[in-house]
């Protein structure tokens, strides 16, 4: 753990610069450049709004803000998880030159995706203003939910980074699992209202991503207190996942080059 903090401090500049390089590479490779960071979440929000309200003929309070909030968090989770599977391969050039703790690469990916998430969050804020959603003390409860969400994502990423080195098929498996998880997490619909019977509340109990999305919306949009117990439970789970993941990666990372 002491090494973890030491390495984080040592490689912080590398993390930030690597994230910055990826962001600028994103801009330079597209004609619309940074506008895609705004356009992409808006377009997806429009698609899901149409699907939800026109195709399924349903409506909901603050629908656009609800979907934007769900997509903001889901896209962050999905991109981080998918990227981390092939992270060692992606950075193999740099990794062949000098030793660097591999979990540092995850921090860099999280920073890169967090920047994009921040832009999506600005869009959510715009919708909050549009719907005249009042800000209160409960809005601040979004912060612990977000911290737990980051930690949970990191925990998943660190394990997938390790598995991605040894199991080349894991990227395909992860894509399929993420697709299933997308529909089981209520990204563009409410798990407890739109799924019949107890299955919705069951999903909220067993699916950490679905639960965190639900709690984030409660805090941000509906001025409802978050459920402390499930969030605390996910936090503990995320800590265990992250610590065990770092332990495994640290133990095996110097064998990765032999495999990749």
């Amino acid at each position: 753990m002491k090494d973890l903090f030491k390495n984080c401090k040592k490689y912080w500049n590398f993390c930030c610069y690597s994230a910055y390089c990826h962001l600028s590479s994103d801009i330079s490779s597209m004609r619309l450049g940074w506008l895609w960071w705004v356009a992409e979440p808006l377009l997806f929000m429009a698609v899901y709004t149409v699907v939800f309200s026109v195709v399924f003929n349903r409506n909901m309070t603050y629908l656009m803000a609800y979907i934007s909030c769900g997509l903001m968090m889901w896209n962050f989770f999905q991109r981080c998880v998918l990227n981390s599977v092939s992270l060692v391969k992606h950075y193999s050039g740099l990794l062949h030159r000098v030793y660097i703790p591999k979990y540092i690469l995850i921090f860099s990916t999280l920073l890169y995706e967090a920047f994009k998430m921040f832009i999506s969050f600005m869009i959510v804020m715009v919708f909050m203003v549009y719907y005249r959603i009042p800000l209160s003390f409960t809005t601040l409860q979004f912060i612990p939910v977000l911290v737990t969400f980051f930690l949970f994502t990191f925990g998943c990423c660190v394990w997938l980074l390790h598995l991605g080195v040894y199991l080349p098929d894991i990227k395909k498996i992860t894509s399929v699992c993420l697709k299933v998880l997308f529909y089981l997490s209520g990204v563009f619909f409410s798990l407890d209202n739109r799924i019949k019977g107890d299955f919705g509340s069951f999903l909220l109990r067993v699916n950490p991503v679905g639960r965190l999305l639900h709690e984030a919306r409660n805090a941000l949009l509906y001025n409802t207190n978050i459920s402390v117990r499930p969030v605390a439970l996910i936090f503990v789970m995320a800590v265990i996942l992250s610590v065990s993941g770092i332990f495994v990666v640290t133990r095996y990372e110097q064998h990765y080059i032999k495999v990749s």
């Binding site: 590398f14 390089c21 590479s25 490779s29 062949h96 030793y99 110097q254 064998h255």
Partner: protein, 351 residues
């Protein structure tokens, strides 16, 4: 003097897949079986600060594996490598260590930060790196648009300007064209003679190793054969392998197979399958009904492409490749694939 690196009885294994014995159908069904290949078998030695150590050995003797282990990139399966505190180690290898989607500029900063340099230290060396690599305006273009020579030059330039306390060099004493090779050799000599750096060089160039190194370590099939004064070890190595190499040179080097010709910004890029024992490759080109003419030479076993800029838009060219190897000053060349591979240079947009 205290050691800067202490290597204690290290062993490194690679997991490989080997063919099963038995009937073809059965082996096809079962696939290959896993096996352990021992790349290094109990190597021990020490390096003192400021020392220049050369590593020699035939292909597959474990030289590059040893360098990777010294750089902390691979962990030994048994034994240990102790590096003195606050000592930074970096590995310079011919295999590109650059991020291809990013510009050369970002690669310089990323590698520098990864090596533990501050932004200010990198900025202070930035112009020197670009000037030495001779990249000009290419420094702001993505590395994927660089030729293999440009990549090697940038990689080399970063390594010799952002120097760590210990520098590991893997067969890069012959980077780029003739002019750059001379420049890089001079730079290496400067680095080596300034006493601030400990350098470990893997090379097949015995002449340069005997003049540059204090000591030479000879590896064979993962085992340490000899470690001692440079000239003595090199001479013993040459005595042993002179006969073998003369014999080996008689067996023809495999011809590299051209894979594809891709249109690039300034012409055509020809790609081929590399040949393990090659020192470099000679690229030949012809237009329809003409005979082949030599258009370029690239150095490095792993170099697998060549950018031909001396072509006319709209013309179709056929390329073929020949590998060459150099043993003790004797050059041996492979045959070529007579059919070659063709590509057409795109017409330039009049706008």
């Amino acid at each position: 003097m205290e050691q800067i690196i202490k290597v204690n009885d290290i062993k490194i294994f690679y997991r490989t897949l080997v063919k099963r014995k038995g009937s073809k159908k059965l082996t096809h069904l079962l696939g290959k079986r896993r096996s352990n290949f021992c790349a290094l078998q109990g190597i021990s030695f020490d390096i003192t600060p400021g020392e220049i150590l050369g590593i020699i050995g035939t292909n597959g003797s474990g030289k590059s594996t040893l360098l990777k282990a010294l750089g902390g990139i691979i962990k030994p399966d048994s034994g240990s490598i102790e590096v003195a505190e606050n000592t930074r180690v970096s590995l310079l290898a011919l295999a590109s260590s650059l991020m291809t989607e990013m510009p050369g500029r970002d690669n310089i900063y990323l590698i520098g930060l990864q090596l533990g340099f501050s932004r200010e230290e990198i900025e202070a060396q930035f112009n020197k790196i670009v000037e030495f690599a001779d990249l000009g305006s290419f420094i702001d273009k993505p590395v994927r648009t660089y030729s293999s020579g440009m990549r090697s030059k940038l990689s080399f330039s970063i390594a010799v300007h952002l120097t760590t306390e210990v520098i590991l060099i893997d067969e890069v004493l012959s980077v780029g064209d003739v002019a750059f090779r001379q420049k890089s050799y001079q730079k290496m000599k400067e680095l080596i003679t300034d006493d601030k750096h400990t350098v470990i060089i893997v090379s097949h160039d015995m002449g340069r190793l005997s003049t540059l190194c204090d000591r030479v370590l000879w590896l064979d099939k993962g085992q340490l054969v000899m470690l001692g004064e440079a000239k003595e070890v090199v001479s013993k190595y040459q005595q042993k392998y002179a006969a073998t190499e003369q014999k080996g040179i008689q067996s023809e080097i495999k011809a590299p197979r051209p894979i594809e010709v891709i249109p690039s910004q300034n012409g055509l890029v020809v790609c081929w399958n590399t040949v393990s024992e090659a020192t470099g490759y000679i690229v030949y080109r012809k237009k329809e009904k003409e005979s082949y003419k030599r258009v370029g030479i690239v150095v490095g076993t792993q170099t697998d492409k060549f950018e031909d800029n001396n072509v006319s838009p709209g013309e179709t060219y056929t390329y073929t490749i020949r590998a060459f190897r150099v043993y003790n000053g004797i050059t041996d060349r492979s045959s070529v694939f007579a059919a070659g591979i063709s590509g057409t240079v795109p017409q330039k947009n009049s706008n």
